[in-house]
Symmetry: C2
Subunit: 605 residues, 2 copies
């Protein structure tokens, strides 16, 4: 039943050899890996305008130079990540680059930061998508959390079905969104050129009395939240079809081009149309309305925007499991993240991401807007570290033409560092949590690593000198009566060794006498040792007895505790038996170095 | 830690030989076993008056003849239970008497009815005690459920400490209550005689127009709820000190005398003082106030009454575990109810009673008043059956003077039967549940019995012919690599037999080649069988392999699956390992008749 449901949801299991078919071509990869970055177009310009409005409507013209600055930063980031792709063709990402060039601790900061960030991405974008839906259908407002959770479950299942399958399905809305935004930009520009817009945008260069550098920096850093997700391509090179690095680099460039034009296009239109941010209507919605009126085209753009906000989460589903895999390979995360599931994806990573982000959505009741700055700073920390790592690499290796590459990464590093600092200074109240969870995550990484290292050390043998050695064998069989299970157990024990001891724990004389008599009558050829328990505990005398046996024979013999066990047909019937054998087993398992064997007898009725 | 807490709460464990010291003398037994019956004085008269008020205040004089009728019934019950005590000196009770004389199914009806009833008793009386407290301190009203639960936990722990200890402590308030009620009755009568009461009670014999037989019967049956708990003594004979039956009979007579005088005393005073039931003040409270005013004495009586209502639950704590023990001995309830705990009480029964009644209190949010009729009918069904059983017994055995005994039980049976029928007819809406849960409980008894019978049959061997037989042995060791655990496991296996097979499940060629090379280099003298898993599952190929081994050798050999297992030091570290061995173990345990052995290796760090 469970198996059938699983097959229905995620499909038939796939052979390991099918892995190559699961890789992505450029077009699908662009859709999957850029949905996060592209979706920021839906709110990037708005974030800038919101900050500027603090200085009055006259200040909105500053959005143009700020957008150009964001565009500049995007160019730097794209160029420097392109270098990373060629430098680390097996899948770079901030974790690998930082670890490789700046040492493991720095790598862990970058990796931990990104891991948490991907969880935030899923929570934030599913909540944002839900908000878009509930704006359109206010009656659904009470089911906000539920809608977001359903969406996360859907994405999780899609990704468990495998990379290609989810990419094929999810590429459609991404490309629809790109087309829709370009149509909007072009139509908007034509309408403006035709004089169809009568807006009073402040002229560029208007002096605004109460504008401050702080405000401008804050607006800039808010605009930079549109750049989250740019790193996804360089993390996901292993998912690309051969030649992987070339395909990845091409995909990255295409993404940069599309993102840049859409972002600047929306910013320009917003300025030309004289749009001020409105808590009740998004900037994109206002532009679309001014351009098309409340026509079908308007509603189509709104619907597709909602969809893309949801799908932004999908980028995290590609990147998180790969990053978790790399950390697990380096023994900083549990082994389970290394296992490929039935559909060849790292299913544990996918499920973990889904569960954690659902918990976040539930914990914040679906109001995850406050997490946006947190998630931006969580991206810019690894951005900075990976650029710094690349700088060190160029200085270290000095390949031909390294100076230019070094320069690009230096500019990138300085810019992202600046933005990180701006975030910290301007939005500290919203991002302080990063300084709590990052140390926690890094502590966990180290604890896990230490455990694996210690366990490996304790388990390691020298295959030259450590060979199996043969010892004698003593088998202790606790018996509660003379039954078929006991018969089977004793047959088994006698087949293995002559040193078999049957032990019986009795509570009163009458009971003990009867058992001894029956045993003698049965005469299985094994001595019965009777222990009297004055306090009616079976465990205590038995364990004391086992300790005596250990003390006497552990040097020469392997000691086995052979537990006769009958297994009931229905689970509830277990309540009808005292399960002493399970208690004995659990105690010995945790406390003693003796072998525990169970001779099962399955009841048929 | 857990152990220390347990010792603190319930005391040191006791030897089985100390059982005799745990038995009860007459005075302590009276306190423990009569608290349920005596506490009904606090509400019995009120129940009668409440029904009569439906016909107007003029009808309250009927409470006197009705109280006399209840007193008559009490006398009959006491006499007939006295006969039961002497007939079944090892502990009678309705279950044994009915089973012995009317057959097992009837016994189960009586037993099941009583078991459920004891749970209701604890729930109802702890809620009633809580109501008394919250009447005095209304601020506690919101914590009603919590107070009742705390009280139940307290009683459970006291009873887990042992019979004598709880009896010594709990006897004080019971005797205080008896003294208080007698003081109240005598003072009240003196005050009335001195003419200190100016009340207008309707004269005895006043004609009441709208009184009906139905109403009178309803009032009578309500008054009979004061008789619940009378059976407790005859159930609990095993808890009495020697000579048990004489002591039990004496205790029963004393209880009847005290209960009868208190009940009739309160009824008479209520009539003389012209008291009408008031939802805001109990009848006893009104009598006490009229007698003493709001003096210290008044508050003392109120406090002691609250206490006795709580302690009524304690009778159930004596009777339930004993009854459960008897049912478990006859294999109608799980074995665990036969086990004497550290303090020689049947602790599983005590805990079960506590938990079930707590669940009831929670389910009813502490409003358990509606359960009172349910619990009265749950007592009168076994009352009737046990009397009927005694009648059959006298006819069957015909001891000297059996005719009188037969007559007493016949009168008892007819009266209790009548009351049962009155309950069913007058309060069907409140007691219909009994016809749901009783069949369910009896069905469970029978399911349990059938399981034990079947299991015993399957496990039984003929000790003349069924002897241990010796077979060969094949040991299969699943290995995941070459580690210390694997070394230990192979040493162990080689010590037992030469037929040892190591099995390795690999996912890809590279992995498999490496393992084969290392194995050859190590050369432990055992063949390594390599299975390739194209779908990356360890379980499936391994189980298929085990099935092949079974098919080849099960005739001649015992097959053992020897699982190398390292045990982490901290529980959370288990999350870092894939626990494949646990999965293998669980599957084999439930599905296959092979021996499963674990060679443990405890990690120290």
């Amino acid at each position: 039943m469970v198996n059938k449901l699983k097959r229905f949801l995620i499909g038939r299991p796939m052979k390991s050899t099918e892995l190559e078919d699961e890789k992505l071509g450029k077009l699908k990869a662009l859709a999957v890996l850029s949905s996060d970055a592209l979706s920021s177009v839906a709110y990037g310009t708005e974030q800038i305008l919101l900050v500027l409005m603090a200085a009055g409507f006259a200040a909105v013209w500053y959005s143009l130079p700020i957008s150009l600055a964001v565009l500049g930063l995007l160019t730097v980031l794209i160029l420097s990540y392109r270098q990373t792709i060629y430098a680390y063709p097996t899948g770079g990402g901030a974790y690998i680059v930082a670890k490789d060039n700046l040492g493991v601790p720095t790598g862990l900061v970058a990796g931990g930061s990104l891991l948490v960030d991907y969880i935030l991405t899923v929570a934030v974008s599913s909540s944002a998508g839900t908000d878009a839906i509930t704006s359109a259908f206010p009656v659904l407002h009470d089911y906000r959390v539920l809608i977001a959770l359903v969406m996360i479950v859907f994405l999780t299942i899609m990704n468990l079905r495998g990379i290609t399958e989810s990419a094929s399905l999810l590429a459609v809305p991404v490309y629809l969104f790109v087309v829709a935004i370009f149509v909007l930009i072009i139509s908007g520009l034509i309408k403006y050129a035709a004089g169809g817009i009568h807006a009073a945008a402040p002229e560029i260069g208007t002096t605004v009395s109460n504008i401050s550098l702080f405000l401008l920096l804050k607006a800039f850093s808010s605009g930079c939240s549109a750049l989250t997700g740019v790193e996804a391509v360089s993390n996901a090179i292993p998912n690309f079809r051969q030649p992987a690095e070339r395909n990845a680099a091409m995909t990255l460039m295409m993404m940069g081009l599309i993102l840049g034009s859409m972002f600047i296009g929306i910013s320009v239109l917003a300025y030309l149309f004289g749009i001020a941010p409105d808590p009740k209507e998004t900037v994109v919605s206002q532009i679309a309305e001014s351009t098309f009126g409340r026509s079908v085209l308007y509603y189509a753009i709104q619907g597709i925007t909602a969809l893309i906000l949801f799908l932004a989460a999908n980028t995290a589903y590609s990147a998180f499991p790969l990053l978790a895999f790399m950390l697990a390979k380096d023994k900083f995360m549990p082994h389970m993240f290394k296992v490929r599931g039935d559909r060849l994806g790292f299913s544990n990573g996918i499920i973990f991401l889904g569960v954690m982000s659902m918990l976040l959505v539930i914990a914040f009741h679906g109001d995850t807007e406050n997490l946006i700055p947190l998630y931006a700073v969580g991206v810019f920390i690894p951005f900075t570290l990976s650029q710094l790592g690349m700088m060190v690499r160029w200085v270290r290796l000095r390949p031909p033409g390294w100076a230019v590459k070094f320069a690009i990464n230096t500019i990138g590093m300085l810019t992202t560092l600046t933005i990180t600092l701006i975030f910290i200074f301007t939005k500290f109240t919203q991002i302080w949590m990063v300084f709590v969870f990052l140390p926690v995550v890094i502590y966990l990484f180290n604890r896990i690593h230490r455990h694996y290292r210690n366990a490996a050390e304790e388990l390691r043998i020298n295959i030259k000198s450590d060979k199996p050695c043969i010892k004698g064998s003593t088998i202790v069989v606790p018996v509660a009566g003379i039954t078929r299970v006991v018969l089977n157990s004793i047959s088994y024990a006698k087949s293995l060794t002559d040193n078999v001891l049957a032990v019986y724990v009795g509570f009163d004389d009458e009971e003990i006498r009867k058992m001894e008599e029956r045993w003698e009558e049965w005469n299985p050829g094994i001595r019965l040792i009777v222990l009297r328990s004055r306090y009616r505990s079976v465990m205590k005398p038995l364990i004391k007895f086992i300790e005596t046996v250990e003390w006497k024979t552990a040097e020469t013999d392997h000691i086995t505790i052979l537990i006769p066990q009958f297994i009931t047909k229905h689970w509830w019937e277990n309540l009808l038996h005292n399960q002493t054998s399970l208690l004995i087993r659990a105690y010995l398992y945790n406390q003693k170095d003796v072998v525990i064997a169970t001779v099962p007898f399955h009841l048929n009725r």
